[in-house]
């Protein structure tokens, strides 16, 4: 479904991604794990068109999206829930969801999908007219995920959805991710919480300072000595 082929991405003189290739098959959860600063967010930002690669290509369902504008990429069916949630804190919960559906114009369909988000996250439903900035961290993450789903993506990019959440909420978020995947959305999940990520993923990549150092099935990586030592605490 998604093929990232040998991309090199720079921030000015900083060479952030050094020949990265990643593949995501339809229906899977693929996770990218790695320490802070490894380049995980940079990969997602490049896939979404916020950054450009100097080399290689990014293919989505066979077509190159490497030079497309971010809004075109959303229309193709790739949606991103960015790191730190980035909800529109000065707008209501409902307005955030409406903005998630910006590329759509089927009003009744959008209505229905907003209700679906409220079914999935009842706490958001209770707060639909509330200003999003007043939500708790967990609620904000749920809103960010709900907003990301409103464009009806076939591929959902999630950047550290468990960041800064209490353990119980982390569990809840991961089980929601599994549910979203089970209902037919392919997922590329970036995480520092390697344990949890590997436990729900099918395939996994390990990223270190802009390079992929390991890849394989999540099961293999979970058992690998190197991964256990570096990311799973022994």
């Amino acid at each position: 479904m998604l093929k990232v082929e040998n991309i090199n991405v720079y921030y000015g003189a900083i060479h952030a991604l050094k020949g990265i290739s990643v593949e995501v098959k339809e229906g899977e959860i693929v996770t990218l794990i790695g320490a802070n600063g490894a380049g995980k967010s940079t990969i997602l930002r490049t896939i979404s068109g916020l950054l450009r690669t100097k080399t290689g290509n990014i293919l989505f369902e066979g077509n190159s999206v490497a030079t497309m504008a971010p809004e075109e990429i959303v229309k193709k069916g790739i949606s991103q829930v960015p790191e730190g949630r980035r909800i529109f804190a000065n707008m209501t919960v409902e307005e955030n969801l409406e903005l998630g559906a910006y590329i759509r114009s089927d009003k009744p369909g959008i209505r229905k999908d907003i209700d679906k988000v409220f079914e999935r996250f009842p706490r958001l439903g209770e707060r639909r007219k509330q200003i999003a900035g007043t939500l708790s961290g967990g609620e904000q993450q749920m809103l960010a995920i709900g907003r990301g789903l409103m464009s009806q993506p076939r591929l959902l990019l999630l950047d550290e959805p468990s960041m800064g959440l209490a353990p119980l909420l982390v569990k809840e978020i991961f089980s929601i991710i599994k549910e979203i995947n089970a209902s037919g959305t392919t997922i590329l999940l970036v995480e520092q919480n390697a344990n949890m990520a590997l436990s729900i993923a099918h395939q996994a990549y390990v990223l270190e300072t802009g390079r992929i150092t390991l890849s394989g099935s999540a099961k293999e990586l979970m058992e690998s000595e190197e991964v256990r030592k570096a990311y799973l605490g022994g």
Binding site: S48, E71, F88, N90, Y102
Partner: protein, 298 residues
Amino acid sequence: MEASSLTQQFFQQLINGISLGSIYALIALGYTMVYGIIRLINFAHGDIYMLGAYAGYFATTFFKMSFFPALIFSMVVASTVGMLIERLAYRPLRGAPKIAILITAIGVSLLLEYGGMILVTPQPRTFPELFSTATYNFMGLVVNSQQIVILVVSLALMFILTYVVNHTKVGKAMRAVSFDTDAARLMGINVDRIISFTFAIGSSLAAAAGILVGIYYNSIDPLMGIMPGLKAFVAAVLGGIGVIPGAMVGGVLLGVIEALVSGFLSSTFRDAAAFIILIVILLFRPAGLFGKNIREKV
């Protein structure tokens, strides 16, 4: 007797101030919306107001339009020019240091002022009388028909703007881009298009202000945008730059203060009042009356 005539003068100046202030408010909205979305003080904005006044002048003299068609015509002309300026002068500099864009804005402003002089001559022109001047007296206060037109038109425009920004899709997109541009991109919002739209709206409001001033003072000239442009900028800062209701309140407030100063002190202090307010605001409340501590965009 003395006290009651003072009260009367106070209310008379209040009326004058509110009508002048709603003009400032219309111009201030353009400053504040553009600032909100690309963090640029668009110094050419006062000149768009001048351009709107001239478009209205030609619409009513050459094309013999009446007030409403002329208002629409001038708003359309100004929004087109506003979008062109953004497209040709500011967009190529997106991502350039702020100072480069600021200097460009000053350049565009000078181009419009002195280019305007070449096109329409520096001579002031008499704006045609579109309404028969009637004055209404009640309780000793005098209101003329121009003031009523100014008030009604600017209130209607501000009402429409508020509705668009709060309740339409494009308005929500404007707020989203203004709050977090990259997050807005991830929603599939075409940011360039929203910026264009913002310039169009801001410019059309300035054009409306231009026509209204033409009607009020009867006289327009190519440099007429400089002073009201600066004043409206002060109004936008007073209300909290980037905050739409702030620009409305700031504009009206500034108009009222100016009217009171010229009524009770001396009209020579009128212009100074605006700049004293600017200094005081910048010293004690830089975020303005309605400004939150907006986080600076990275």
